[in-house]
Amino acid sequence: MTGKESTLSHYLKSPTLIVIVFVVLGILIARILGMSTLDTLMTIMYFMGIALSLNIIMGFAGYVSFGHAVFLGLGGYAYVLLVYFVKPLAQLQNMGFGLGAFLVAVLAGLFAAVIAASVGAAVLRLRGAFFAIATIGLDFTALYLMKAIVPELNPEQFFGAQIILPADKIVEKDVVFNAMFLTLIILLAVNYYIRKSPFGVGLTAIKEDEDAAEVLGVPTTMFKIIAFTLAGFFAGMVGALFSLNGGGVDETLFNLGHSIDMIVMIVIGGLGTVLGPVVGSLIYFELYDLLLVHYPGVNLIILGIIVAIVVLFFPEGLIGLLRKYKVKGVRLRDLLE
């Protein structure tokens, strides 16, 4: 076997991995030393999580989904309904320093993934704007159906589509932190693996020219469905833990606004890389805060303008921009992935 150098030293040479490890350790250290509030760290992880989940289908395969929040919502509702109605799962949540909550979130993610796989088989036949719009349609359909169904499940307790978990069915926030942290690490690993694998090469080929990719042997339909399902699964998990953290769920989890967050982070950071969404979500988090503090009220207007500038002048995002340059004769393209 040639060219297979899976040694530790090889990985240590990868700045991408170093950045990822740095970010992950950063979150952990900030948590242990209490440098940031739990809420701040949860928000960062949540941002990073949704961006990395959408990245699998939008960044790698080029399918821009404007309705990705649908999986956030489905995961959130699945989680809350599971612990609300299934007693053993409510108890499981509390076990193992967050491992229990993580497992229930996996179930919720699986629910989102099943929906993603089945609708994906259909909507992934559409391309470009048609796909983007079909996913918006999905999101709204799920939103309205949730509004219709949820009140019926427990008419005494649920008002509208809102479900508030009673105190005995939620867990401590630092337990949620652990579960989210674990999810994020897996999500990063999955993104990194995709980037490095034949699967990722195939997805990139699909992004560049789907017909040519198919003729060159890429099983385009299957790859797209797998990518979409993975993206749905992880969005579902993040939505689940986000809801648990908030002590319940309501229909705002389906808001187009969440899809907007994800897309903006990926666009700012750079499509098709692992670092893009990571860096993009950190920038977005800071930017969001900064604008909110200094320009309250008009903060989102400025954000829109910034996004427009990025789309027009830096369409590859920050990482994409850096990848064009060389430092001391070394092409950053080979280092930043």
């Binding site: 080029g62 821009v64 404007f66 259909a122 909507v123 036949r125 559409l126 391309r127 470009g128 704007a129 048609f130 983007a132 719009i133 079909a134 918006i136 349609g137 999905l138 709204f140 359909t141 939103l143 309205y144 159906l145 509004k147 219709a148 009140p151 019926e152 187009l256 907007i260 897309i263 903006v264 666009v267 009220g297 008009v298 903060n299 989102l300 207007i301 400025i302 954000l303 829109g304 303008i305 996004v307 427009a308 789309v311 027009l312 369409p315």
Partner: protein, 305 residues
């Protein structure tokens, strides 16, 4: 079941559908001619509503003149949007690839973030409208239901506008060249149609009409909040896809169909559970969208491409 409830909902669905259809005419032109999917559709509609509202409430200018000003503002906005956003992305290219399509999508999306939040900043989330002016309008009785004059006025204006747009595209040289570019941009540029001019014109017209439709939406709804962007934009996509990209008549007919489907499913659902009739009716519209996309992506009036 009470027949009159059915009748009321059908009539209302029909009347609303005309507005829905007209509001999507600009969207269908932009999409059909230059593959620009206006994700700021809802915000463009709101622009027209708010222009008329400001003129009326701040300066006491009659809503009807306000509507005309809204059209002018819309045309100007189209001009700005073309030169600020679209020209760089689609101006010079001959064939609009999927990638370019996605960047225009994202650019319009950035615009929608900025505009929507601008509205929230200026107008807040409370409903705004013509207040007493529209309440003062008389009622008309049709088929045992009462219909407010503002609704009829909105529909009449929408129908007249659609007719004018249709005639413009069908009869004038400029309109014909827009349609030529829609059918085959490359061939059109070979026979000497300046594609940049056509793209500019299409953007001005497309955005202008959408903004103008915001005035009709306001007349129809009596008041608006920024929230309505979330209703009219997605439904606009449904209408365009159903009507066929670039088809003005298709857009109107599809609008009416969606309006009626909305009315019907509301009636059907309310038999079982009146509380959820609104959400289910809306999701029906989106299920229709996904089904058309999958099985008849060229729409009912579109050509296969």
């Amino acid at each position: 079941m009470d027949v009159s409830i059915l009748a009321i909902n059908l009539v209302n669905g029909f009347l609303w559908g005309i507005i829905l259809g007209f509001a999507a005419v600009g969207l269908t032109l932009l999409w059909g001619v230059m593959k620009v999917v206006n994700l700021a559709q809802g915000e463009a509609i709101l622009m027209g509503s708010y222009v008329a509202i400001v003129l009326f409430s701040q300066y006491g200018i009659s809503p009807l003149i306000g509507g005309l000003v809204a059209l002018l503002v819309g045309l100007a906005a189209g001009f700005l949007i073309y030169w600020a956003l679209l020209h760089k992305l689609v101006g010079k290219v001959e064939k609009i690839t999927l990638k370019i399509e996605m960047s225009t999508l994202l650019a319009m999306f950035a615009l929608s973030i900025a505009l929507l939040n601008f509205y929230y900043y200026i107008f807040g989330s409370e409903p705004r409208g013509f207040g007493l002016w529209s309440i003062g309008l008389p009622f008309i009785r049709v088929l045992g239901t009462t219909i407010r004059t503002n609704i009829l006025l909105a529909d009449a204006l929408a129908l007249i506008s659609v007719t004018i747009v249709y005639l413009f595209l069908d009869r004038t040289i400029l309109g014909k060249s827009i349609r030529a570019v829609m059918q085959d941009a490359q061939a059109a540029s070979l026979v000497g149609i300046n594609p940049v001019k056509i793209k500019l014109l299409t953007t001005v017209l497309g955005i202008g009409l959408t903004v103008f439709s915001g005035f009709m939406v306001l007349l129809f709804e009596a008041s608006v909040t920024p929230e309505i962007a979330y209703k009219y934009a997605p439904l606009g996509f449904v209408v365009v896809v159903l009507g066929g990209l670039g088809s003005v008549v298709g857009s109107l007919v599809a609008g009416i169909i969606i309006g009626i489907i909305y009315g019907l499913s509301k009636v059907v659902v309310s038999i079982f559970n009146p509380r959820i009739s609104d959400p289910v009716a809306l999701s029906t519209a989106f299920i229709v969208l996904i089904l058309i996309l999958l099985f008849k992506p060229e729409g009912i009036f579109g050509r296969k491409r």
